[in-house]
Structures are given as structure tokens and as C-alpha cells.
Subunit: 393 residues, 4 copies
């Protein structure tokens, strides 16, 4: 087995781990370990909330979650020889669960604390616990469904340079300034509250905690992309912005639907990832991969041949207002259409259906994006996840 | 073979066909034919522009296209017994090309006349002609690529009710009013210019031409969804808004990428579609399918197991401005990243790469839509469409 | 559309066609047409029996079929520049049906006239007629099933050299000599009865008719392989044994199960095939492709993700005798097991289930071939071809 | 994690394990554990040879292997309530490797000791060691290939009844009697040599060791089917022949090609399997599943869209003799054709190519089985397992 280069104790918060990880992005967070190109190694990860959510039927932990604590990450890993301008080639060799933690959670954040894609429709907290049965997951909170996992790190990325970090902070600050009192907020700006910065302490900790970017959004380095297909066997090409590349990861999901629409999230879990790293020197310029990672998905994702597909267009569902090629609204409409359908055919509550779309391997497609003024997005649900035939007849 | 219920002569404009079709949506456009539930029949279709584009190397026909003429549709088909509230079940049994027209076109509309998803980057008209070789397509204008078609009607839908039509006109008018001088326009409002309304003439023609909605956007009835997977073998469940359902279709594509990003469009072609129709009486309420069609894709779409995937986030590529969970911008960034890559690895011009993403069977996914403030969209390119290995190495 | 280089009139027998094809293999059967490498062209084909079977419910035509008449082939096509030792690269660009012939047939040959894989179990003639609905087929004789076609030529091959033909005749004659009175026969030796040899007449016809190999088995040149995956988009690399390669084809199937177990056969049909040919000079030695074609399947075969799989081992079903790694018996047992199951779960007769396995896109696998003394073969049935859930519960 | 109900120590032979398993089939081998229907549990397994093969470059352990020792199995598991006539429903929830044993082996048995599918062509012992890299395997002994595993138990089955055991012994004895001196033997008859029978000792051990069937072939109860698709997520329906069903399993493979042609075997490994069991009371009669298991494959097998396919016919490769619809010979010819090709295009030795076809996820199909006198079998090789393009060009 690959050597474990980052270990976690599920009973301790991240800052008390033998080698603490981090929950902010900053070039000066020290690496926890170094590896040579060509190395295979294992990284253990806590769930993204650092263990705040319990395996029970009470959603109050979801409702009251401390979101300043997220996402607790494992790393950074220093890759010897990596320099800005290189491509870091990361193979996700395998992903697994811990024997003692055969469950994950999904939930709906309260609108007042986190929100989500459908927060205006489902403003109250809810929780679903998912049990793992080998490759399959089921939930006692969402009857009638069972599906194979598509395990992946919701979050994986290299460290930003100082210049890149500055750019992030500037643009996100400007966005928040447009509506600083909005709930949920337009973005999460740097905050020392609950920051974990590896081994940093004292004044250096304080300075970096004030500067470091939150981990919530995906950005040029990858980060919290929540791409469900960064699964077993995937090869990712990351831009390198700092010496050593400083790769970190976390936010493991047993499964997730495209969009991770509930925000909380996929089927969130603790677990481990086996990685292989390599370098393409000067690869960013050579391949014109400048601002975002590129990847080749692995060969063992669950495969389905039958789907039921819901469409949505960019007309606001409540106001009826016509928006211009707005794929966000179009996908929301597709999701709402699917929830309406599942309420009828599967007898689910809206909340159950919402959490199902956030966890099951549904696909979200931008089908049409030019037919002014309506974007058309589609939501693809594999029909074999249900214990009955859900097609109209 | 299924009886041909709608015939076209490719050498005549739509209004001069023996039975003219239409290029507007209105409940009062008369049906051209009626069928019973359970019938199989063939509908022939002209290309969406009504034959304005020629099989040559000169893009001036794209540049000067009359967009008031689009989309010329075949139908409406009256389905006996269909009433508002029913679901019209349409099976796309097969789709094919005409022996005498073994080619299609794609293009980039000029920003001044149509525009497209990347019109700010590629404002000038361009054209690519695609030759059909059985199931495959190649273009003399885009070397190094060959792929199997995924034939589909870009546009298929039932007629709106008067109430629904009024809603469309109202909301689109309000949108245009926000920036009436924008080029390209925010929406296309009703216009008698170049309208074709079946057999209507005289005053009735004039009235309806003023009221009838343009066919450009997808709407509650389906319409111009440009969903590439409405292909051979697909079953679609349409809401019925008027007696007889009044199904129309057109805008056939030999292939298309998700998003149809160039707007002009997929590989646009003339051809035929074999349909089977049936009814689920009262199905809209029974299945809670109220505002958009639902479909089950067919089993013979080309299948690929290897993709190279590009990511994009909702930061404006030129201004660097941070947008809030804007999937439109995120997908645009993914497309631009892919174009950058293809310029380097395949030696294509930006225009060629742009047209390739609009025609090849690429998938556009909404991967993450909740990680404030960045949406993350991904563009999936099947690697086997290229005549060489394009992966970084 | 590709030029039609071989035309058929479905109302005339092969020898009365304007350009007759052939139903024997011999190097001296004259080519009907010549093409250059790089050419795309269409070949029309009659069904393999030359029109002996009618679209009705009476199996007497199956029972009394003249098997000396099979397989009527279209060609030979002379490929300019082809020489022995080359590889002939054949792309199957597309395959289709005739508008006036939207049906095909399957049947069970009587044991006394043809037989089949399960002839000892089902010795009497039966027939099933299949109707085409675009990409789908259904049969009024086998209720409860519907599936997408996987169109292919059951038979396609280059002409043998004289030396190769002599080898075939010698070895098959020796086989027949082991049990010359067996019914059905061990092989079909050359016979002038009902021979069609293109334009040949008189003494030359008589000589060649006595020498020419029957078309029933697959051999080193390809021929009647009945590989269901030689379908749309497939590229085949054929060894070339004579100048001009002399490619012929026929025996079109709308669909077939692996093994084509009823012998009569897949869903047999008339239709057309669009081909593209090219040459790899000296390719046989260069690629060590000496005795059988090699192929790369196309990308649009129907794809299924759920199968029910039946196993069989090489113990004789009637005598209980143990055979040594006999995959023929093992596959027969798997088929018989499946038939038993389908009788119970689908309410089919044994004959219906037998014809279904011969026509539907089932897969036959050699799963284990070394575990002495039992071979293990498996039969894979896609579950979505049935109108109900057939799994045990 | 599922409770471990059967543990192995890789450093001890099976008879010295704390709870020994068995390497023979007999109804009287005592169960090692009992479970209720509905239980999930883990079974650990040694490799099939009981640890005789070492991770080194010397094939002498393959050459000298004690085949009386195979296959060491884990179990039997008693399922409470199971009775003859029931169906035992076994879900393979997951399969994994041991952290301390991240490798497997394949080899060619010497013709004098074991043999294999191509033993007349490759009579000498050879060995390839495969290293696991998460989901992938590579071998230092076979350069240029890498593929995702398709983990499965080569052997899994219920215990035979006394009557069924008697039938096995009788028919296999009769087979051996036809050529008792053949090397390799036609079958492996009961032998006390190296027998392991769980906790049995003394006279009872002696009696049962003389009666118990060897584990080599698949039989009516399942057993050593070596079906590579009994992989993660598969559901198997086993006939039950004795009270408690007495399920045993072993012979784990990291990967295997259809046929497991080298006999030694797939990528053989030690590891664990997580199972869920349930019962369908009276299911054998209800579903007409009498003599062999039936299964539904899981959803996460590696999926490939591009294959190169080799054909073979039932003419003996050395003598040229024509055999009658012999799928064994036809598949052998297909394998030999593929080996010829791989020698040329990949530069492999024949032995390397032989071991590759036995380990890589190749598919073996019975394509045509009725075209007298030639069976046609095909060997499908996914092209993406190679580090270069192997197609003819």
C-alpha cells in the first residue's frame, strides 16, 4: 500500500492532529511533507466540516454548523522540483472509506447559515445520513433509492501565488461590496475565525489568517470544484503557481450530483485518497493551460444507460421574469421540475428530493446557451437508482 | 416506411412548398395534417435558415443571413384526441438525411447579425461545411477531426395556448426594454418580417404575424431546446396546451455540442424524422409535468469512454470581475480554455476550434453551482474525434 | 449519397438481376464493378435466401427453404491496386433498409432441412416476423420485447485464392467423410444446384459451380462470420488473397444475438450498405494478419448497462456426459438455461425464446476455458428489451 | 465495515489458519460460521495456491506448483434458513486487497504440470508479477500495458448435495477413463493429497477427502467459473442444494481476461470480499433456475469504447483439420491471431502476449455457432490498455 503521508484522527479537530492541515489558501502555509515526482502515497482526510455532523436523525448540527471551519484540508504536499509554470500531473489512484466510519451525510443548510441552490424554496435545515454497503449507498432518510458511489475529493488544488491570492481577495471583496448584507453572503472573505493554518502560530498565523482565502469557491488552481468525476483513476493536470506546487485536498464525497445543489453537499465523508504525482516542466505554456486544471476522467465511474431528463429555461420560477441566457436559473428550473416529478412518482418530500439530487449521480448539462433569451439546462437522473419504474406510462 | 405527412422541396422557400410550414409559434396556425395516437409517420424538414447557406467556402451568406426567416418548421401536426392537460408522448423513431443533400453547415454569426456565445471574442462571420460519410462527418474547413453524428431536431414542440403566448410576449418585451439597442438583441420580439404561417393569408396572416412568438428560444412547450440528445430512439413527454397538441419540428442537426455555442449552430442540415405519437390523458397533472418536456434518451447515441475535460469559473475573462454563481460565464471560460488548448495541440485557429466545440459531441456540465461565488462548469471533449493523441505528455 | 454500385430488384431472383451477384466463393467469379481506394459507394443486398421467405404467419416457407440458394451476395467489387498480401481496409459507413421492405424474418429450420444450435430440442420449423419502427424492432410473434437494431452484414469477405479454395474443399470434404449421412450435414460441399455465379455461363459456369465453396461457414477471408458487431461505423482489415481483392457481402441483419443460434438466423432483411475502401500495401506481413480479418467496432451500437446473465458448462444436457472444455456445449447449456427462465418469467414458448435469443442483442461469452473439464460460457441478456422487470425477486 | 467472519494469515498455510477453510467440495465439510439472511460480512481469502508463488522473477515456483493444494477457499458460510430448492441471493458489495500484499501473479503452467489453453504452443513455465497502483495494475514483466482492475472471486459457490457430488464424480471419472494417461489430465479426480477440509480430522477427514470433488471446474453450484464480471456490485442467484447453502469462495483476481486462458490464471491475489446474503424461498422452481447460477453484473466495471477484435474459426492451427462448430478451437485461433499481432505491434514475446490475454480485461465472444462447419469466436482487446496506438495504419 502507498505510504500514508498525512494521517488523521477522526476524534480530534484538525488543529490538534499530530500534523495539522489547513482550511485556508495561502502560499505561506508550510508544506507538511515533500515527495518526489513519481511517488505514490496516501492522504487521509476528515470530512469537510471537521467532524461537526453526527450520525443521527437530528438536523440541528446542520443548522448550527460553524462554516468558518470549512474545508479542513490535508496537506500541503511539496513536490520536489515543481516550479511556477509547470503542470503538476496528479493521478487519483484510489479513494476509500475508513472501516470505522461507514457512513456519510448530506443536508440542507438553513438560509440563515449557508443556504444552497434552492434556499428560497427550502430555507430550513435538514439532514440525511447515508450508509455505505461496499460500493453502494442507501439512506434511512430517503427511502426507495440505492446507488453505487462515485468517490472523489470535492476539493483538490495547488497553492496560489501571492499575486493570485491578491487577485482573488480583490475581486471577491468587490463582489461582496455590491450587497454586503445579503444572506447568504455573496462570497466569504478572509477571516481568522476558526482558521487552521498547519503548524503556523503566533504573529505569522495572525497575518496569514487575515490574508488567506477561504476555501469555498473553485478558482484558477482548482480548489473546491466539486466535480463528481474527479474519481478513481482520474488524471488531473494542475497549473503550478508556487515552488513545490503545494497540493492539498479534502472534502471527500462518496457520491454527488452535478451541481452539488444542496451545498451540504454530496455524501460527505472522511476517508483516504491514494495519489501519484508527476511533473511536466514548463507545461503551462506548452499546453496553454493557464488558469484552470484540465483532467481525464477515470474508467470505473458507475455507468448507466437509461436516464429520465428534466429541462429548465431561464425564466424565474416565482416572478416569471425573463432572464438572458442565465444557465443558473435554467438549471434551477430543471431541478425544481425534477423535484415536482419525484414528489409525485416516488412520494418523496421536497426536501428529500432536493437532497437526493444533491447526492445521487445525476448529470447537469448546459444543453443550449445561445437561443436568446433562454438558456436550456437539463438534469439527467439514472432511472436504475430507484426501486421501481418511475417513467410516465 | 412510415408515410410522409410533410414533404419539402429543397429548391423552394417554405412559403412556396406544396404545404407550407411555419416559422413562428401561435395557437392559430392551422395544422397541416392530423394523426391518431399510435401512428408512425415521417416529417421532412428544410434546414433552419430555409436554404440560405450554400455548400462553398464563402462565409458571406452566414454574415448576411436573414434571421427573420428562422426557424422554418414542419407541421403543425394535429393529434386526434389531444387536449390541454394531456401529455403527448413522441418517439423519435429515426432521423436521416436526403440522398441529394449529404452535407451540413456550421458558422459563426457576425456580432452585428446574430452573434453567439463567444461573439465578443470572435465577432466576424465564418463558415464550416461538413460532409457526411454514412454515420460520420468531416469538414474540409476543420482538419484532423472526424466523428459520428448524433442526429436530432434542434427544435420540436407543441403549440402554446393564447395565454402562454401572451406570457412569452410580455416577459420577453420587458427584457428587451431593459436595453433595446443592444447588439445582438436581448430577445427577438414578434415581427411580420419574413414570417411564414402555413396556409394563412390576408388579414388573419397579418394579425397572427404580429402576435406570434419567434422560434429562437426554448420555452415551456419545448421548442428550440437544442438538446443534442433528442436523438434516435428518444421518447419525449410534451405538455399539451391546445386541442390537437399541434406538434411542429425542424432545425435538424447532424451533430451538435452541448450549448450549440456558435448559435449557427450544430451541423445544420435538411432531412427527415420518423415519429410515433401517443397520449397520456391528463398526464400533466398526474405526473406533475407542467412547464417543460421530460425525455428518456435513446440507446444508440455514440458512446465514448475517454474525454479531456476543461474547467471554467465565473470570473469574467476580460475584466476579471467576480460574478456570483454565473454558470453562463463559467461555461464560457471552460470553452475558451478548450479553444486555447486546441489551438496549441491541434494547430487550429480560434474560429476553427470555436466551430468544432459547437458541432462535435462535446458535453457541457454544471459541475458545481453552490460554491460561492464561483460556479464551476466543465466541457468534455471525447478524445477519439481527433486523428492524433491530444493529451499532455 | 454514395453512388450505388450494385443494385437489386427485390422482385427478381439473383440470377435475373440486371447485374447478378453470386452465392458461391471462387476466385474466378468475375467482379461486377471496380473502385479506387478511397471511394465511398453503396451496395444493395437481397436477403440471404433470395426472397424465399414471406411476411406472413405460415412457417412452411422456412420448413421448405432451398438452402442451396444461400447466401446470395452482392459483388464482387474489384479494388484497383489490391494484390495478395495487402490489407483491404473496409469502413462500414452506414447500413439501412429499403422503404418498401420494413420487415425481416427469423425462424427455426427443421432438423431435416438446415437445423440449428438447438435442433435436437426444437426440431420443427417456426417463423417470427419482425417489424421495423425506425431504429426499433418488434415481432407480432414474440410479445413483450422491443429493442434497437444493430444492423450489420452477416457475411462480408474477400475472394479466396485457388490455393485457399482447394484447402477449404479438402478439409471440409474430409470432415463430411467422417459421417456422410448425418442430418443436418457436417458441412456443405460444392454443389451446382442453385448456384449463381454472376455473369458466368456455359462450361465455365459448370466448372466453377463444381469447384466453388459454399458460403455457409466463415473462413480465413471473413465470409459468413455473423459477427453482430460488424455494424455501423466499423472498420475491418481484410487479408487480400487475389488481385483486386474481390469483396462481396450480403446476409444483412437488422439485429442478431451472439451465436445466431437459430441459424435462420438474425433478423434477416434486404437493405443496403455504404462502404469506404482503402489499402495497406503489404499489410498482411507488416501486421501479421494472415488468416482472419481484424476489426475495430463502430461507436453507435446500442448500449446497455443492465444484463441478466446465464451460465452453462460442458456437460451434455441430455446424457449427462462430461465433455472436455467444450465451449459449444457450455454455450448451448447457457442458452437452454435462459430459455427455461424466459418461459417462466415472460410466458414465452420454448420456440419463441429460442428465436428471441437468436435475434435480440444478447452477448455470448467464453468466460472460462481452462478449468478442466468444464468450459463455462455465459449468455448476457440486456434487461431493458423486455416490457417488464424480469429479475428474480 | 462489515464484520470479518473469515480471517486469513498470509504467512500460514490454510490448514494452520485459526479457522481453516477447505480446498475440496463436499456436503459434509462443516460450516465455519453462520449468518442470517440480510447480513453483510467480510470474507478474507488467500490466493488460490495457498501462497506458493513468490513476488520475484523466477518462474520455478510456477513450474513446480503443487496443484493438489488448489483452490484454498474461505468458508463454508451457513445461511440460516436456507434449504434445498431455495435461491441464495449473494451481493458482492466490494472486493479489496490487503495493504501488505499489493501485488498479484500470473503465469504459464508447464505442460507437464497443469498446462493451459495454449499449452501445445507454450509448454514451458513462465511468470509475470503485477503491481497494484490503486485501481490500476502494471507488470514489470510485460511492458507497455496498464489497465484498471476488475476484481472478482474466480470461485464462488454453494455446497453440492451428496447426490450432486456423486454425479460429478461419476461423470468425471468416466471422462478420465477415456484417456487416463493424458498430460495434462482430462479431469482431476478426488485425491486426499494436500486436501484441506476445514476442521475435519481423523477417519472422517480420510473418508471425505477420498470422496470430495476437486475445485478446478465450474459445476452446477457455480464454483470455479472464472467469470471476470462477478465483480463489485454484482448480484448472484445460487441454487441451494444443502441445508444452510454452505457458501464458499476464493481464487480472487485483480483482473482477468475472458477464458482465463493461461489457467494460472488471472492476476491472482489474496484479498477480501464483502458480501450480503438473502434468500428466495423455493426460488429454484419458481424461476426455473435449476442447474447453474444466474447473475446481474455490477455497475462499476471498467468501461471501454474502443476495441481491436480478432477472429478465429474452428480449423486446427497445426494440422489444418476441419472441426465441427468447435468454439474451443475457434477461440484458441482468435487468441493465437491476437498474439501474432501483439508480437509485431507491441514487440512482446509470445509468452508475454499469452499472459497479457489471460490478465487484461479482454472479452471472448461466441460470435457465430451455427455456420457449419465453422464456429467463429472473437477476442476483444480494449485498445486503451496500451501506451501506444496499436491499430494498423
Amino acid at each position: 500500500m502507498a505510504d500514508v503521508l498525512f494521517r488523521v484522527d477522526l476524534n480530534k479537530p484538525m488543529e490538534e492532529q499530530e500534523t495539522p492541515g489547513h482550511n485556508r489558501w495561502h502560499p505561506d502555509i508550510p508544506a507538511t511533507v515533500s515527495v518526489n515526482p513519481g511517488t505514490e502515497f496516501r492522504m487521509e482526510c476528515k470530512d469537510w466540516t471537521d467532524g461537526q455532523i453526527q450520525n443521527n436523525d437530528d438536523p440541528s448540527d446542520i443548522r448550527d454548523v460553524n462554516l468558518h471551519r470549512v474545508h479542513v484540508l490535508s496537506g500541503p504536499v511539496w513536490v520536489n522540483g515543481a516550479e511556477p509554470g509547470d503542470l503538476l500531473v496528479v493521478d487519483i489512484l484510489d479513494i476509500g472509506t475508513f472501516a470505522e466510519s461507514q457512513w456519510g451525510f448530506n443536508g440542507i443548510f438553513a438560509k440563515q447559515n449557508g443556504g444552497g441552490f434552492l434556499t428560497d424554496h427550502y430555507p430550513d435545515a435538514a439532514k440525511s445520513i447515508w450508509d455505505f454497503h461496499g460500493i453502494y449507498a442507501t439512506s434511512r432518510h430517503i427511502p426507495g433509492v440505492k446507488f453505487a458511489g462515485i468517490l472523489h475529493p470535492g476539493l483538490i488544488g495547488t497553492a496560489p501565488s501571492h499575486a493570485l491570492l491578491d487577485k482573488w481577495n480583490k475581486r471577491e471583496k468587490e463582489l461582496v461590496a455590491k450587497n454586503p448584507d445579503r444572506v447568504p453572503g455573496l462570497a466569504n472573505l478572509p477571516s481568522p475565525d476558526s482558521a487552521v493554518l498547519g503548524s503556523l502560530k503566533g504573529e505569522k498565523f495572525n497575518r496569514i489568517a487575515r490574508e488567506a482565502a477561504r476555501t469555498v469557491p473553485p478558482r484558477e488552481h482548482g480548489g473546491n470544484c466539486d466535480i463528481k468525476n474527479l474519481s478513481k483513476g482520474t488524471r488531473i493536470y494542475f497549473p503550478v503557481f508556487v515552488d513545490g506546487a503545494k497540493l492539498s485536498l479534502g472534502d471527500l464525497h462518496f457520491s454527488q450530483g452535478d451541481g452539488e445543489i444542496s451545498f451540504c453537499g454530496g455524501i460527505e465523508m472522511a476517508g483516504w485518497v491514494d495519489l501519484h504525482v508527476d511533473l511536466i516542466k514548463g507545461g503551462m505554456a506548452k499546453y496553454n493551460i493557464i488558469e484552470n486544471p484540465v483532467f481525464k476522467p477515470g474508467p470505473v465511474d458507475p455507468h448507466y444507460s437509461e436516464f429520465l431528463v428534466f429541462e429548465g429555461i431561464s425564466v424565474h420560477e416565482t416572478t416569471g421574469e425573463q432572464h438572458y441566457l442565465d444557465a443558473h436559473i435554467a438549471y434551477r428550473r430543471a431541478c425544481l421540475n425534477a423535484i415536482d416529478y419525484l414528489k409525485t412518482t416516488m412520494g418523496l418530500t421536497g426536501e428529500q428530493a432536493y437532497m437526493l439530487l444533491s447526492t445521487a449521480p445525476v448529470e447537469g448539462r448546459i444543453s443550449g446557451i445561445v437561443d436568446v433569451p433562454n438558456a436550456c439546462c437539463t438534469l439527467w437522473i439514472p432511472t436504475s437508482i430507484f426501486d421501481r419504474d418511475i417513467l410516465p406510462s
